[in-house]
Amino acid sequence: MSDSVDPMNPSQPLGRLPKPVTSMPSLAKVDAGRTGNKSTGALEKIRNTYPRSSRIPDEVFRWIIILSAISVFAIVLLVVWELVDKSKLSLHQFGLHFFYGHDWDPVNDSYGAMPFIYGTLVSSLLALVLAVPLSIGVAVFVTEMCPQRLRSYISFLVELLAAIPSVIYGLWGIFVLAPLLRDYVEPFLAKTLGWTGLFGGPMYGLGMLAAGIILAIMIVPVIASITREVMTAVPQNQREAVLALGATRWEMIRMGVLRNARIGIVGGVILGLGRALGETMAVTMLIGNRPEVSKSLFAPGYTMASVIANEFTEATGDMYLSALVEIGLALFIVTLIVNALARLLVWSITGGTARPSA
């Protein structure tokens, strides 16, 4: 079907390929639907010929549907309102200092979220560094290299990776990954890369490195599935043209496919980042839960999500609770920005075609 597409404008067919639902509501695909229905004007004309009496149930139905749509909006507003309302106390008390203060001291009611912000950022970035090349590699392998028969199996396996609950990743991390890291990987890293200072100190197995690796395993499916989708949307004759110029397969993939798909891939990466930032259980089980800022990746850390998970039910004082909710608010705002950015990027590829017709 892709050879009927205008080769001069490779980004356009993104908006044309209907795809099956996958576990992630993917951005490229979602925009594909927006151009779907065209001739609603004719329908309105037909409907206007109906007798007035039949419009009453129609109106009732319309309002029920509108109410359920508004409920989505209301829930998000409610989330924001509750977070702001419950964190007011700590917002007033600490102001901006909350975000760069280092001490987390429930006994003296003094709170600074720096170690948690640091832990969240470092573990997520580490996950991205590990996951991005792997996911692009998998997507390239699946779309461009592997035999047709293997393709559906591999994408099914990768999809399955997305369906495993994070608590099971955590369980596996504690009993399989952490001992593996402690006994083999960390000594090796300390010996070969110890001079960088990133891999030093005692090796517990549990720590920033373990959290980063488990997060990477968890976000690979997100990034890989979007990359794969964007890559399959690149028209076939684009590939043929580059090959005809004498390119090798890798040059064809680099110049013909990846270059055209790059914005979509960046969108996928950002979406993966959003996932990693908010991930709670697996990280809580693996990061070691100690509010410290340490240069070594072997050292235990703490993230924003895991401090909420660990301390929320035990928080006794109002100020303590309020500080925890403020961390939740910060987490919400950051993931909101990250997701909006991913969405805008994809809107920018699909460009004018993505605008609704009405």
């Binding site: 129609d58 994070s166 955590g170 908010g278």
Partner: protein, 287 residues
């Protein structure tokens, strides 16, 4: 004829080509190995601990051997039932709005909000439900856990419904209107029915996604060592129990955590496999 081009490719270009191929294969292997490792460990470690008493008994106090997660399995079912009752109708409703009415600014706003809601970290949903319901009721409950998970189901169900409804050809709607069928009836009995396979798929995916959620249940359903079938009481859930047992220092509990995970993953993979079967049978071919 440039028959000899393939021989003229320089060594460097050939090497990078091989390198890239090698890297892609390596990446595929590196991604699939942890998945297989997780499954193998789950089966090996879990299957030894799944037995009749695990499936029928409640947890024993720490230090005593035996006991099971029967209350957790029932609790998960209870919470998921509440979640589905909340999440599926609201999700399908908003999906219908987006597809049939929402071709305008307000529709875009709802679409964007649904994406935002989809990206909200689950723990933040937990905090919100905690302050909305648990604080007001003054105790943890299965109901609040269900509300939290239901909220997380809405965006997935809504977007799947929208996508599937948009694939229904407009000709079908026009035909229905031509017969004088009102819009609500057309939407429900014709559009939605045509799209039903895809909508069900979306619902099951949302279900599978929240079935293993733990973070929002920590301070809503809270967990319980005993049987509970009441909606307004703290309730055990499989995922919560796996978490508590995994970070405990007892060997017997570790074994039970593996068994609990195995049960959980069997439930979820079962749902995903069912999804694959329904989609391969009844997927709508493009509009």
């Amino acid at each position: 004829m440039p028959a000899s081009t393939s021989q003229k490719v320089s060594l460097w270009r050939r090497l990078t080509d091989w390198g890239a191929t090698g890297f892609a294969v390596l990446a595929a292997i590196l991604v699939i190995v942890p998945l297989l490792a997780i499954f193998v460990y789950l089966v090996i470690k879990g299957i030894g601990s799944v037995n009749i008493s695990f499936l029928t008994q409640t947890p024993k106090p720490p230090g005593e051997l035996g006991g099971g997660m029967a209350n957790g399995i029932v609790g998960t079912g209870l919470i998921l039932a509440v979640a589905s009752v909340i999440g599926i109708p609201l999700g399908i409703g908003s999906g219908i709005y987006l597809a049939e009415y929402g071709r305008n600014r307000f529709g875009d706003l709802i679409r964007f909000t649904a994406d935002v809601l989809n990206g909200v970290p689950s723990i933040v949903v937990g905090i919100t439900v905690y302050s909305l319901i648990v604080i007001r009721q003054k105790h943890f409950s299965a109901f609040s856990g269900g509300v939290a998970l239901g909220i997380m189901m809405i965006p997935t169900v809504a977007r799947a419904t929208e996508e599937m409804l948009l694939m229904v050809p407009n000709v079908i709607r026009e035909a229905a209107y031509g017969l004088g069928i009102p819009k609500w009836r057309t939407t429900l009995s014709i559009s939605l029915r045509t799209a039903s396979a895809g909508v069900i798929t979306g619902c099951m995916l949302a279900f599978a996604r929240v079935a293993g959620e733990t973070a929002p249940l920590l301070f809503t359903a809270f967990g319980n060592q005993f049987w509970n079938l009441k909606l307004n009481q703290p309730t055990a859930a499989l995922s919560l129990q796996v978490y508590t047992y995994a970070i405990s220092p007892y060997d017997d509990w570790h074994k039970q955590a593996w068994a609990g995970s195995l049960i959980l993953i069997v439930l979820i993979v079962g749902a995903v496999a069912a999804v694959r079967i329904t989609t391969s049978r009844g997927r709508l071919k493009g509009a």
